[in-house]
């Protein structure tokens, strides 16, 4: 660390990179303290710490605002772009999140909002030095991407997660114009297909010639073919490329070539992992495992769409080093998966389909002692009596993977005993999301509700911040959550509870609750009312197909002027006052004016 300007000789180890300091030898006395503060605040990177610092007093608030370079907007409607850019003047990296999570499950009407455009124009004006933009569940157009591409000469990083509204043309604009681009990550976003008559734009060829700065290129979700020759050339001239996630239009022989071009890769998404039918089977079969052996730095593998299970053994050379493996799009059975799993001793993150079966989970438990995160997705989403994974798998995992921190588990049956076992065996759990696909399903052995299982989780897992519940649940489950879930920040509830009391327990008992999403549960106005003291501390509340009435929501709106209550209803005139969806969030600014017709914002 270097000395700062000579005006402050008694402060070694200060660097000031946040704001351009003037060269004045001795600053005016009232500025000295601010300069000191700015230098110190520079070291605060965690936004929660910064938020706390900004509350100390006005000058701290000002100093903090001037030195915050990473701005996180958890809800794009909580604050207007103008307000954000007026307060924070020197932002280099911005994250904005838009739609509520239940939009992923088609519960939100189309055209609901979360449009990026107003943010785009504000950013172009306020932060010409912007380097990074992370957007999640936002709606952005090709024009927006064009704006981004042309407004920020230092632009380095674009990450779009679960976004929609744009197409290849927008991506091409970014590729062509952002000469310093290091990261282009398109994750689970809907990229509009080109019109039938139009040629698919070759966006890969839009990257400028010569060596690139690319470190990460993720385009698994781009649903159109890519120009492979151009891609190969791009990879060959990207010496810093570490993360490459291909879409399923890249076949395994093509993957082979790319891997040999980029042996320095650490994260690889494999594309389709099957051969094109141009090559007859047995005809010059390439040694695909040599490609995986050549990439000695691989720690994360994903992709495997359209997988031909015969090719799976090709990844064996990489297994021993893998810390993250995502096979959740791979249609493979337990027998095909086990040989892979048994070699992955260092695995910390595993995403699979339930085709792994309890037996496969046993192999995971036996081998992956370092496992921190497990996600088991359903291959079949129908409500069945039995499924390939069950309480047996969960229990076995809890016994073998004691360091588990995060689990998402879809199943058709689950017992309280297994959940209780996990609560005791895995005390480090921070995220527990259990989805028993059959709604209102009790414990199949005891025929009891699942209250005790989830109760044990909140009681024993003292670090738990995120919980999703399912199965047959009474108000008792929520009583446990209110009693023990003191660190809980996110709670997801569906088809659960008996009465208003359930929601009351939660709203009165969980002081750290920030995100609450509820569907199809019998909670009404009285329950909502019990949260008045807390709603300003929350990012949002979602309640759909519950027992709320417009009248009840109106009362909340009157009591709390800085809350936006969006009532979303498909039917115009109804017999009763019940509403379909309430989406409620705190907001510093006037209600938005871009809502579709079916949304009413109560004030």
């Amino acid at each position: 660390m270097t000395h700062s300007g000579s005006s402050l000789p008694d402060l070694p180890n200060c660097t000031s990179t946040a704001a351009p300091m003037s060269e004045i030898r001795s600053p005016p006395p009232d500025r000295v303290l601010e300069i000191v503060l700015e230098n110190v605040l520079h070291f605060l990177t965690c936004r929660r710490d910064r938020n706390a610092a900004s509350l100390v007093c006005r000058s701290w608030c000002r100093a903090e605002a001037l030195t915050r370079s990473d701005l996180f907007i958890g809800n794009c409607y909580a604050v207007s772009p103008h307000r954000a850019t007026s307060r924070f003047r020197r932002v280099r990296s911005l994250t904005v999140k838009g739609k509520p999570r239940f939009a992923d499950f088609d519960l939100l009407p189309l055209n609901w909002g979360a449009h990026f455009s107003p943010w785009g124009s504000a950013l172009a004006d306020a932060y010409p030095w912007l380097e990074k933009l992370h957007l999640k569940r936002m709606s952005l157009t090709d024009d927006d991407l064009n704006l981004i591409a042309r407004s920020f000469p230092s632009f380095k990083e674009l990450v779009l997660v679960c976004c929609e509204g744009f197409g290849i043309a927008g991506i091409a604009a970014v590729a062509a114009n952002c000469r310093l681009l290091r990261v282009l990550d398109l994750v689970e976003s809907v990229v509009e297909d080109a019109d039938e008559d139009e040629e698919v734009m070759d966006w890969i060829s839009c990257f400028p010639d010569g060596e690139t700065h690319l470190e990460s290129l993720v385009f698994e979700c781009v649903e159109c073919p890519v120009n492979f020759e151009a891609l190969e050339r791009l990879v060959a001239r990207s010496p810093y490329l570490k993360k490459l996630r291909l879409n399923h239009y890249v076949s395994i022989p093509q993957l082979y070539r790319l891997m040999h071009r980029a042996p320095q890769l650490t994260h690889l998404g494999t594309g389709s992992f099957c051969a094109s039918d141009d090559v007859a089977v047995g005809d010059q079969e390439l040694d695909y495992s040599s490609a995986f052996a050549a990439c000695k730095s691989l720690v994360c593998l994903s992709g495997f769409r359209d997988i031909l299970p015969d090719y799976l053994p090709a990844i064996y050379p990489a297994c021993a080093n893998l810390t993250s493996l995502n096979l959740s799009y791979a249609d493979v059975n337990a027998d095909q998966l086990k040989p892979v799993i048994l070699q992955c001793h260092k695995l910390q993150t595993l995403w699979v389909l339930d085709s792994i079966c309890d037996e496969g989970l046993q192999a995971v438990a036996a081998t992956c002692k370092d496992l921190r995160e497990l996600r088991v997705f359903p291959g079949n989403t129908r409500e069945e009596a039995e499924g390939p994974v069950s309480e047996v798998g969960l229990e076995v995992i809890s016994q073998g993977c004691r360091k588990l921190q995060s689990i998402l588990f879809f199943c058709q049956r689950m017992t309280n005993a297994a959940v209780i076992a996990m609560s005791k065996n895995c005390p480090d759990l921070v995220v527990f999301r259990l989805c028993i696909i059959g709604r209102y399903r009790p414990d199949p052995e005891t025929h009891e509700p699942m209250d005790d299982g989830f109760g044990a989780i909140v009681m024993n897992c003292k670090k738990l911040t995120r919980l999703a519940v399912s199965g047959l649940l009474t108000d008792q489950a929520f009583r446990y959550i209110g009693m023990y879930g003191k660190l809980l920040r996110t709670l997801s509830v569906a088809f659960a509870g008996d009465s208003d009391q359930g929601l009351k327990y939660v709203l009165e008992g969980c002081p750290n609750l920030q995100k609450l999403e509820i569907r199809d549960s019998p909670f009404g106005d009285a329950a909502l009312h019990s949260g008045l003291h807390h709603f300003y501390n929350m990012r949002f509340l979602w309640m759909s197909t519950c027992k709320l009435t417009r009248q009840g929501c109106q009362e909340i709106a009157r009591a709390l002027p800085h809350l936006a209550l969006e009532v979303i209803d498909s039917q115009e005139d109804k017999a009763d006052d019940h509403i379909e969806i309430l989406y409620m969030y705190r907001s510093l600014d006037r209600p938005r004016n871009d809502a579709p017709k079916c949304v009413t914002i109560l004030q």
Partner: protein
Amino acid sequence: MATSASAYENDIKNLKATELTLGLPGTHLQENIPIIDQEKSSASSSSNKRPLQLPHEETSPAQDCGSKCSNIAKNTDDDAAPPPSKAKIVGWPPIRSYRKNSLQEQSEAAGGIYVKVSMDGAPYLRKIDLKIYGGYPQLLKSLENMFKLTIGEYSEKEGYKGSDYAPTYEDKDGDWMLVGDVPWDMFVTSCKRLRIMKGSEARGLGCAV
């Protein structure tokens, strides 16, 4: 909209096809619970459920947000012989549509018939479920949409006229045949994979029939 809705309501009552059950796992699928009337919903104390709302017509590209808003129980079944499918609740289980679209849902009791489809000159491979098509016209239309091309008109004598592409398939015996040569049902059971041939090879195959 109202008339079709009430007609559909009558159909449901007649069909007794509501699939919402409170039974324990393993309870016989045929047990039905009568539709809860709108008027009764507020009175029912122990039921946690909302009344069954009338399904809307499928509106595509839905500008109408109504089709997305309510807890719709879509009756996915038709008048087929296999047991009636369970009604699907919107957004349940909570899987992102991105993931749902990427995976092929295992079709029901009869099992889906998934075949790979490749096209000459293109590296990408697709998989389709032959069961979802009623006949050749739908299949060909779907292939045209999928690969963004036009397949010509089929004729017994001359194969596919009017375009460079011809759809072919490999049957159980390993022979490559022109799609359309055999009756649809026979095709569905004997087709192992599809290949869209281009150019002279395609024309050659047509004549060989």
